[in-house]
Symmetry: C2
Subunit: 439 residues, 2 copies
């Protein structure tokens, strides 16, 4: 059957896209009318709307609200086929992608494999402080957060109860800020009536940031507003605090430690494998250094986009690792390929248009930075909500998702508040590790 | 803290309910106004709407559509507290329930722990043919069904592809009938445009029943209608066929075997533990034999209800293991307890009022048996839909659930079509068994 893949695509130019994130999807969609055969390869069968991942982690949304089967997105794009498979290697000379069980030949390759969270060499922290990149991560965090309250309810000592009601989030970027705000509201508002022996509002939520302010990518005044908003929600913000160790008992840092059953990692990301696969130069995070037209140096037909690539922007900054940037890069590469098919000359280099930064703090506060315009509070929040709904348009049933999202979000619905997976007993019987399953 | 449980409830009568299924929830709600303290103990944090479980298994609904956190259901019932814990033993003399990490004393005990599926002593079949009782089961079946199509798309031989597109359901009861119909529609309608190398409509769906007809609990003419409706959907129905073995390659029975990657078990249920816990007489399925007032013989303050108990009905039949029966029994026990509090005399024995049987076959056919009235086809289907929506009323956000359910159900939405859990690679790395995680 292997040959079949090649045969089927023999006549037309074969564009292979690795990864069905925002960048890969945008590139594939922009090639809809092109006389090429597009193959999207992803190890998952769904596209994940990562900006809302933290809301699954805090049970505001269900996995199905933020994930859409890739096949569904392309079921009506006849020049696109989807393969669910693990990429194991890329052979640049043979122009072949090696997957589990098969090889896929390409004429043009778009690498949009994204990033994963990084523990900066302390991988043993992973079991104690899961990150938030995959759907599995979100449901695992959700399980831990909800289960912590359940365990606090049956705690036998006050110390135990305190520890089980303490949540430490490491990393003051958007993910950390959004997680801290959401957990605070889950504890202080949504679940306040649910328990009899504990009061969820006693929960202690601590956000630890190594730098001197939250949301480094934002202007300082917005960092201050974000911190103020979090503190108003009862979150303890600790800046200039570098974590030294994370274990089952809690988090330790210079000058102290916090006993906490639930730890969440939002501190850093890295790009695995690509440097080796492509024999390419990368930065310390593993992001591939690309040409101004997003091609891999020395390989005009290989592109690296989204979180996987390092693209200079302005003021010594790189293009940020956010959805709009990945989408712009995906569309740019598609237009470049179309231009080449038309025999076009060397195209303009990729130019990133920054729409702005948005971060939400709980339900009714947010900070927004649109360059000249800087907003915070309710106005920013509605902007943020609008931006997400806008993103959702174009996926299936946006209205239903919007209804569900708004209703969950505004009315603290409990529908998604499920502790997934096996019961503690079953987990013990299976010698289950801390990893749980998503969706 | 252990003593706290007892202290808090010291003055008032302590009613402990084991299991938050239909029976347990109904009993607890019916005690809302009673001068008693109700404690609901469940190893999960959610109530599961089991009649729709098969729709999660076939990706028509998401786990959050059919599961509601127990605490949410009782957050406004101040005399009810919820403990998420594994029951390990019941001490009838000390009137104490032993849970992981704590003991809970009771004056009255309502055992509503339900049933689980049974392999009739062939437990090694479990890994090859998951049943459909827990949310985890449903997401595992969903994962297997969806992943089978993905694997067929990349199959290297025709035999392999055929095997991966063959689905065998064992057991011709409502679960088996509903699963077979849903998988047929998933393959023949919902996913028909999603693949490029295979045609999901080539999928072979086989329903195997040991008895001489489907839906034994229904009148014969409805069994025939159900079989006709399934065959119209392209399901092969094999009655009078007793399964002899199930392994990774397929299912074998007297006179043949079927190579199938996906096998689903819907053949039987059993009640674990209770016979030992209660030192009680049980039937072969482990269901506890109770008095006409649902008390455990010799223990006026211990009740066993729902799937966990064997209650005679009529014509030598027992009360069926369906949601309405469990709810009626829960309400009956609550009223009996209220009667006792008022110093009432010995109450009337429990009398089951049978509303009827309903089973759905795919999207637009169903069979309904209301005694005199027997329906099939579209009318029965709308009745069935109405019955489910009616059940949903009383849980949170019934409208949203109804919208989501109807839209998913009528429009073949793909939102829930997620392959949960780790990627095959990750599963291998973790030496992962076949069990996956729910919700």
């Amino acid at each position: 059957m292997r040959s079949e893949v090649v045969d089927k695509m023999g006549e037309r130019r074969k564009v292979v896209i690795l990864g069905a994130g925002f960048g890969g999807i945008a590139a594939a969609k922009a090639l809809k009318a092109a006389p090429v055969d597009v193959t999207i390869i992803d190890r998952r069968n769904y596209h994940l709307f990562q900006p809302l991942l933290y809301q699954v982690a805090t049970a505001d949304l269900s996995p199905a609200n933020i994930a859409w089967p890739i096949r569904g997105i392309f079921s009506r794009q006849d020049n696109a086929s989807v393969l669910m498979s693990d990429v194991q290697a890329i052979d640049l000379d043979a122009q072949v992608v090696r997957c589990a069980g098969m090889e896929v030949a390409y004429d043009d390759l778009i690498v949009a494999t994204g990033a994963r969270h990084s523990y900066f060499g302390n991988d043993h922290w992973a079991e104690h402080a899961p990150g938030l990149k995959r759907l599995n991560d979100a449901t695992e965090v959700r399980r831990r957060v909800l289960y912590a309250f359940e365990r606090a309810e049956v705690a036998e000592t006050v110390e135990e109860q305190k520890k089980r009601l303490t949540f430490v989030i490491i990393g003051g970027g958007p993910t950390g800020v959004e997680m801290a705000g959401s957990i605070a509201e889950l504890a202080h508002v949504a679940m306040r009536r649910d328990f009899r022996r504990i009061s969820p509002s006693d929960a202690r939520i601590v956000l630890i940031e190594a730098g001197d302010r939250l949301l480094k990518a934002f202007p300082p005044e917005l960092s201050d507003k974000a911190q103020a908003a979090l503190e108003k929600l009862g979150v303890e913000v600790m800046t200039d605090t570098r974590v030294q160790d994370i274990d089952a008992d809690g988090v330790s840092f210079e000058g102290g430690q916090i006993a906490a059953e639930t730890k969440i990692w939002g501190a850093g990301v890295e790009v695995p494998y690509l440097g080796d696969w492509l024999g390419a130069e990368t930065d310390r995070a593993g992001r591939v250094v690309v040409n101004p037209d997003l091609t891999l140096p020395g390989h005009d037909s290989v592109f690296v986009i989204g979180d996987a690539s390092k693209v200079p922007w302005r003021d010594g900054l790189d293009v940020p690792g956010i959805a709009p940037a990945a989408k712009q890069e995906g569309k740019y590469v598609a237009s470049l390929l179309l231009d080449r098919l038309r025999g076009g000359s060397r195209p303009q280099p990729f130019v990133y248009r920054h729409a702005g930064n948005l971060a939400t703090i709980g339900r009714h506060a947010a900070v927004a930075d649109f360059g000249r315009i800087k907003l915070s509070g309710a106005v920013a929040w509605f902007l943020w909500g609008g931006a997400h709904i806008y993103f959702l348009i174009g996926v299936r049933r946006p209205l239903l998702v919007a209804i569900n999202w708004f209703s969950s979000y505004m009315f603290h619905s409990k529908g998604a508040r499920l502790i997934s997976g096996l019961t503690p007993k079953e987990r013990r019987q299976k010698g289950e590790d801390t990893e749980t399953r998503g969706a």
